[in-house]
Amino acid sequence: MKKIAFIVFFAFLLFASIEMREFGKPPSSVKEVFPNANYDVTMDDRIIGKYNASAEKWEYGAVEETGANNVVTSVVFDYRGYDTLGEATVLFTAIAGVMLLFGRERK
């Protein structure tokens, strides 16, 4: 029974990976996926931003909004800060669990 379930699971995963979109080519505009959308720039391109070389300033993007050169850091701590706060809570809870299991009984 376990073997049948595992084979069905593996076949489903393999089918999904073959039917996946092409590797290395994410959709470059929203209208490829949703033709009725009234905006064109995808979320990641909006976050990376656009630099106006002639005026020497940023039009939009993470560097203009958060001031950090590392876009991944600005996503982690600014755009998705609640996610990081929850992750810090998970870390704290796991360490509190380890201390609850092992910390007391050494005394």
Binding site: N70, T73, T84, F102
Partner: protein, 157 residues
């Protein structure tokens, strides 16, 4: 049980004592430059925790536990979480919302870099949050490794 038998050889102890400050300084570098270069609080914290784990492996966990109590490491970790939450709550009063970046655009920390520039005093509250998360990860991972090593030694006795 004076802990001498769980030390490794003199060669390993000397190399660990030499490598410990270098690893710690590299960890601080990765944390402080988290908004400019690859890395950040989590990665730098993992490097710093690995420095403490190096000491634990080389000198034996009981000798390290006498100098560096795991309660103190836990307090260090909680302090990091507290800094994170307090800086986030400042965003409510000084700007619009929780976790708002209230320092961006200001003169001291909020400089917006142009193309090709990388000033250290940019990023607003992001370096402070990086330091907070780095403290959290250093304290947490070293406390967990120290507790697991201690409980394994207890089982042998």
């Amino acid at each position: 049980m004076n802990g001498d038998e769980e030390k490794m050889t003199v060669i390993v102890q000397t190399i660990a004592a030499l490598l410990f400050p270098i690893t710690l300084i590299f960890s601080f570098y990765v944390i402080m430059h988290g908004h400019l270069t690859p890395g950040g609080g989590f990665q730098g914290g993992a490097i710093g925790a690995s420095a403490i784990v190096l000491l634990i492996v080389a000198y034996g966990v009981r000798n390290i536990e006498k100098r560096m109590k795991e309660e103190n490491l836990s307090i260090f970790e909680s302090l990091g979480g507290l800094i994170f939450v307090v800086v986030s709550i400042f965003g409510i009063f000084l700007a619009t919302a929780f976790l708002a970046n209230f320092l961006v655009g200001k003169a001291i920390f909020g400089q917006i870099p142009a193309w090709g520039e990388a000033p250290l005093n940019s990023g607003g509250v992001l370096p402070i949050l990086n330091i907070a998360v780095g403290m959290k990860v250093i304290g947490g991972l070293s406390a967990v490794v120290m507790l697991l090593a201690l409980i394994t030694k207890e089982g042998e006795r």
